[in-house]
């Protein structure tokens, strides 16, 4: 699939209609194509609809206008071809780490031995060996997110949707998790859409950064950011710093606009 567009977002708009209160136009005329096994970051000020766009691709929310196609088929609901990781982990708190990872494998209908083997492999991959029988409330934030990532990777989705997955973690854990994610992605490439409001994170991880405008969100700019290296020292290189500056300039304008929108 590499090289061709796996996800085609075509003139998509989304309006939030709360049961009470006024409607909010969250996304307006968003068009974007994502290639197979590409790592892209959606970047923008808070409230710009970047998470909404991710939920539309995931099939959790319907597009009000426009279409989203994955592998040529229109998205009509959630599916295990598009795995999602949320900022606040969304683990099943009544299940142990192992049972969380096993849940999706049971739904796939795999034989028991195969399920157990795969669950253990992904728990080991994210470094949670020894915590298989722990409940999520016993784990730190970083470990919870590792468990959530293992649960999603275990069902082997072609597409990984990540909604500010490291946003709730402390700085050290976050930088560790970023390089681990890059490592995992380089070993078993997947199409990744990674939502963040952290410019450095976006530039470090992604091959392309999609900068979104303030609400109603649309694509303001797409910037190539291929550094092709998971070495954390890349942060200090001039090319990296310049790229961050360039994108930060784009985001800053929108963040200011977003603040203007919020004041009465």
């Amino acid at each position: 699939m590499a090289g061709t567009s796996q996800i085609v977002i075509d003139q998509v708009s989304h309006t939030y209609r709360p049961p009470r209160g006024r409607e909010v136009l969250a996304l307006q005329d968003v068009s974007l194509e994502v290639r197979g096994q590409e790592f892209i970051a959606l970047l923008g000020p808070s409230g710009c609809g970047k998470s909404t766009l991710l939920y539309l691709v995931g099939g959790f929310l319907p597009a009000t206008l426009g279409t989203i196609r994955v592998d040529g088929k229109p998205v009509s609901g959630p599916g295990p071809d598009r795995g999602i990781v949320f900022q606040h982990f969304a683990l099943f708190p009544w299940k142990t780490v192992r049972a969380n990872v096993l849940y999706g494998l049971e739904k796939l209908g795999l034989p028991r031995a195969e399920r157990e083997r795969r669950a253990q492999a992904f728990i080991d991959l994210v470094g949670l060996h020894g915590f298989e029988e722990s409940y999520p409330s016993h784990l730190s934030g970083g470990m919870k997110q590792r468990a959530a990532i293992a649960r999603t990777l275990a069902i082997d989705p072609e597409i990984l949707l990540m909604d500010e997955p490291f946003g709730a973690l402390d700085a050290q854990t976050r930088s560790l998790m970023q390089s681990e994610l890059l490592g995992i992605w380089q070993r078993s490439p997947k199409t990744v859409i990674f939502v963040t409001h952290d410019v450095q994170e976006a530039v470090y991880l992604a091959e392309r950064v999609v900068v979104m405008s303030a609400r109603p969100g649309h694509v303001k700019a797409i910037v190539d950011t291929r550094f092709g290296c998971s070495d954390p020292s890349v942060f200090k290189s001039k090319a990296f710093v310049d790229k961050v500056d360039e994108i930060w300039g784009l985001v800053r304008d929108e963040a200011l606009k977003a603040q203007g929108n919020q004041s009465p």
């Binding site: 939920y55 995931g58 959790f60 609901g77 959630p78 599916g79 295990p80 598009r82 795995g83 999602i84 949320f86 606040h88 969304a90 683990l91 099943f92 708190p93 009544w94 299940k95 142990t96 849940y103 999706g104 739904k107 796939l108 409940y135 999520p136 409330s137 016993h138 959530a148 649960r151 999603t152 069902i155």
Partner: protein, 258 residues
């Protein structure tokens, strides 16, 4: 040492009340008819137990209260989940729950007696009728509070609509549902006793009313003590069941108490 004191501390207040009761009754300020001494009441409970009367009354009261509680749970939990998850069901039942919850259901006792007679069916119906409301409202609250992202995760991992209800929504709402059950169980016992007192016959409440008709105050006070003990045991059993079922929950892993 401090631990031992804290373990027996809850019993100190009970012992203080018992001592005050015994002393007041023996002081001669009140007649034995107004307040029989605790020792007389305990002796009465002992002789009831020896004659087998206590077991018969207690068994019947527990059977009615627990049967009503079980039916209220079996109907109330699914109904609460449905009300929270389905808009048409909510439209229909929400007003009924809102009007019915604060209503004194015991006022329907004459009507239920008229329709269903004096036997167990009418008593259990009254218990169900009263105990179901806290179960339904707690289940609604628990179901409505299930995190959207947890539901989405389950969907994403391949859960069907039915899987979602059984495997995700029910366990996620279980802490609140158990709170509702913990409120409903004492209500079931209270309504059972009141219904028995109004209708008479075998059962702890019926035995109290019979004793009172014969102006036999040790029998009435014996009933009160027996009900207190039964209620205490039921509440403790429910709390233990909660800890067992919520092994995964923060409140069990790290209790708030010191």
């Amino acid at each position: 040492m401090a631990r031992v004191i804290w373990r027996i501390a809850p019993w100190l207040s009970v012992m203080a009340v018992a001592a005050a009761w015994e002393l007041t009754a023996r002081s001669g300020v009140v007649t034995p008819f107004m307040l029989p001494s605790l020792s007389v009441v305990v002796a009465r409970i002992w002789s009831d137990a020896a004659s087998g009367e206590l077991v018969a009354n207690l068994g019947l009261t527990l059977y009615r209260a627990l049967a009503g509680f079980a039916i209220a749970s079996a109907v109330g939990i699914p109904l609460g989940i449905l009300i929270a998850r389905s808009r048409p069901v909510r439209w229909f039942f929400d007003p009924i729950v809102s009007v019915g919850f604060p209503m004194p259901k015991i006022a329907f006792l004459p009507i239920v007696t008229l329709w269903l007679g004096f036997h167990d069916v009418s008593k259990i119906t009254m218990i169900v009728f009263d105990a179901i409301f806290p179960i339904v409202t707690a289940t609604i609250a628990g179901t409505a509070a299930v995190d959207r992202e947890i539901l989405w995760s389950a969907r994403n991992l391949g859960a069907s609509d039915r899987d979602l209800l059984r495997e995700i929504i029910f366990p996620a709402a279980l802490p609140e549902i158990l709170t509702g059950l913990q409120v409903a169980l004492p209500i079931a016992l209270i309504v059972c006793i009141v219904a028995e007192m109004k209708m008479g016959g075998v059962g702890l409440g019926g035995a109290m009313i019979t004793a009172s008709r014969f102006a036999e105050s040790p029998g009435v006070f014996a009933g009160i003590v027996e009900i207190a003990i039964v209620g205490y045991v039921l509440v403790k059993v429910m709390a233990a069941a909660r800890r067992r079922l919520l092994l995964w929950h923060q409140e069990v892993l790290a209790p708030a108490t010191v």
